[in-house]
Structures are given as C-alpha cells and as structure tokens.
C-alpha cells in the first residue's frame, strides 16, 4: 500500500500481483479530515498487467466494492451468482466455470467498460478491494453486509438446474408409471355373480378360451361392478 501526495491531492495505491488500484482525491476539510485522508474522491483506476484496465468516479468505486466482495463471498462457497443489476454502475457476472465478467456502465455517452477476469485475477482484485475497504485513510461509505453463512436455497445455485430437477422429475415419472400400471391391474372379481357380463361363464371362457364351470353363488355376495365395465 503506497501513498503519494502532490499538494492537497492524495493518491492511494494498492498492489497485488497483476492488479493495481489507484484512488485519487482530497481530504474533506469541511468534515475535519486529516491531511493524509481521502474524503473527496476525484477518480480511481484499476491497472492490469498487459491489458486495459477500468476507471471511474466515486459512485463506481463504491459500487465496485458492493458487488465484488459479496461475489467473492458466494464464490468461496462455490456458488456462481451475479451481483448488480443491468442499470447499476458496476456489476459482476460469472462467465463459464472459471471466468468472471466485470462490467462498468458508461456515463454520458462514454462507452461501457468490460473486463474478463480469470480466478487468479479475481482473487487479486478481491485482495486489493479488501485493503481499500479496511484503509482508515479512505472515507468511503459502502453498503457492505457482513459475511454470513449461506442458506440451503442460496447453495442450490451451485447445483446445475438439470441435476436439481433430476430427483423430482424421476419421482414424478415413477408416480405416473405406478398409476398407469395400477389402472391396468384387474379389479378383484366377485366370488360369484350372475348379473355382470364379466361374471358370466361365457365371458370367462372368452377371456382364456377355455370353458370353466360357474362357481355356486354365495347367498350374501352382491355383484361387484368395475367402473367403466359397462354394467
């Protein structure tokens, strides 16, 4: 972490392997800031080794902190979840399994900026932003929730949709199959009947092609009709 000063203007510098973050600003004397503090941020930029970087104003820096650090919190649990809406100053979205897209909205006709980071570069950026967040010289009020354990619902995002749906879809298919087989299962025939067509000796003989002797009707037995059997 370096600190440069030119007159009132201060530059805070945070380095990590491939990433350098520079924050320029002035102490806000109206709020009683000390000489080394940065309360009025005039600009910032991230420089990457051998590739274009990203820059912006105070609101972009705050948005950068508010999306990248929660994204890292989810990533450490293996959950790839986008942070920031389409119209937010900065957002970060997973790009495949091992890459991450950092997008900065363009201001007043300026083109939007986009960075594609691999896992190593994301880790560098997170370390740099952690140092920035904990630097007492920088007066930047970012809305950062404390790290908390993820719920089951949040963790489900790390399981692909196909795998998540496999169990309920399999259960539903098994239920439908069981219901279909159950509907094909013949209903128990009455011990003896004379009224229904299925109970007649002729119908029975038509079933298997062999004549069978009719069972003597029991006095208490009532004829049972199958639904849809036509009786």
């Amino acid at each position: 972490m370096l600190f440069q000063s030119a007159g009132m203007k201060q530059t805070l510098q945070y380095d990590q392997t491939s990433c350098r973050l520079l924050v320029e600003g002035l102490p806000d004397v109206s709020r009683g800031h000390a000489a080394g503090a940065v309360g009025i941020i005039t600009g910032w930029r991230i420089e990457w080794l051998g590739r274009p970087g990203m820059d912006g104003q105070r609101e972009h820096l705050r948005a950068l902190l508010e999306v990248v650090l929660p994204y890292a919190r989810y990533r450490i649990s293996g959950v790839p979840r986008a942070f920031g809406a389409e119209d937010d100053p900065v957002r970060i979205v997973p790009d495949g399994a091992e890459r991450h897209r950092l997008l900065r909205r363009g201001e007043e006709g300026a083109a939007p900026q986009e960075l594609s980071l691999d896992d190593a570069e994301l880790a560098d950026l997170v370390q740099v932003l952690d140092r920035l967040r904990l630097d007492p010289r920088l007066q930047l009020e970012a809305d950062l929730p404390p790290s908390r354990p993820l719920t089951v619902r949040e963790l489900l995002d790390r399981i692909p949709l196909r795998r998540r749906l496999a169990a309920p879809a399999g259960g539903l298919a098994a239920l439908v199959l069981a219901a279909a087989l159950g509907s094909l299962w013949p209903a128990p025939r009455p011990a003896g009947s004379g009224s229904g067509p299925s109970a007649s000796p002729a119908a029975r003989s038509a079933d298997d092609g062999k004549p069978r002797p009719a069972a003597p009707p029991s006095p208490g037995a009532a004829p049972v009709s199958r639904p849809g059997s036509g009786s």
């Binding site: 650090l69 450490i76 649990s77 293996g78 952690d130 140092r131 790290s147 354990p149 089951v152 963790l155």
Partner: protein, 185 residues
C-alpha cells in the same frame, strides 16, 4: 513479512459455535491442499500457530493433528465436535498459510500462463494431494472417492484452491468462517 494480526483468542473466539461436519471436512481438506503445495506444510502450520499466539492450544504437531482428526473423512477419525476456539484457531492458521502460499495457489488458477505449464502444475499438485488423501483419509468415504476420481476430483480440488485464494488477505478470515458455516444443501 507483514505483522500478523493479534491472536484470535482476544476476539472472543472461544465463544464461537463449533463447526459442523461439512465445515470440518472442508477446513481439513484445505489444510491438506496446502500440505500438498508445501512439502514442509506440517511444520509451517505449527510455526504459524506459534506466530498467531496459539502455542498453548497447539504446542506441537500432534495436538494440531488431534484437532484435525475431527474431520469425519479421516482414517483415524475422532468422535465429538471440535471446540469453537480450536476451529477459530484453525481458520486463522488456514488463512495465514493461504496468504503465505498465495503465489503458488494463484499460479494454479492463472489462465495467462502456457497451458502445458498449468497442466504440469496441476498434475504435480494432484499427485501429491492424491498421496496424502490415500495416506490419511478413509477411502470408503464417498467424499474421498469423489476427490480421487478422475472425473469429479478436478472440479472439487479446483474449488478448494479457489476458496483458499479468496481466504487469503485481510478479509479472508470472515469469508472463510462464514463459508464453513454454510447450511448443508
């Protein structure tokens, strides 16, 4: 080397709730990954625990090993829950070691290096991790089998390495602590 943060004992860590089964598994596997990266990793852990002020808690390798044996995936697994203070100490040691080994961890995830070099690093790392897993973990456990399998192992080990890179640095302890207490999906 930068000055280490004050020992976790002062942060009221002894009152922190114990880690669950999954959290213990992940924490011990992360330490195992760092042992695979650093051949002197076991000694480095004891040294780091001393640096962080945990001499009384972990005076030697055996005490550290006894705490790590609460991992249900271990061959010699200990019953019961790990004390909240012990788990907090292990989290701090893991994060500090991840910070120390950050260049090595980062080199495994870096996509800008030549692909054959990245593959060579991964092959060497997976070879050493596989040896440690077979040596210390129960091969009948499905979690160990998944880590050793050719198809699923690579993704799981990569996730462990990514978690270690994000656990390094000043905000790493909070992230890792919260992550180890995630619900079981």
């Amino acid at each position: 080397m930068e000055a280490l943060p004050p020992p976790a004992e002062t942060a009221g860590s002894a009152a922190s709730p114990p880690l669950g089964r999954r959290g213990l598994e992940r924490l011990d596997l992360m330490l195992l990954c760092m042992e695979a990266l650093d051949s002197n990793g076991g000694e480095a852990m004891v040294w780091m625990s001393g640096q962080l002020g945990y001499q009384e808690r972990f005076p030697n390798r055996v005490e550290l090993w006894k705490r790590r044996c609460h991992n249900p995936l271990r061959r010699a697994c200990r019953r019961g829950q790990l004390d909240g203070g012990d788990s907090e100490a292990l989290i701090h040691i893991t994060c500090q070691l991840a910070d120390r080994l950050y260049p090595l961890l980062r080199s495994l995830l870096c996509s800008s290096d030549p692909p054959d070099l990245i593959e060579m690093r991964w092959n060497l790392f997976r070879l050493r991790l596989g040896e440690l897993l077979r040596q210390r973990m129960n091969p009948r456990r499905s979690g160990v089998q998944a880590l050793l399998a050719a198809d699923t192992g690579q993704g799981l080990v990569r996730q462990l390495i990514q978690s270690l890179t994000l656990a390094a640095g000043p905000g790493g302890v909070d992230r890792l602590r919260a992550s180890l207490r995630d619900a079981v999906a």
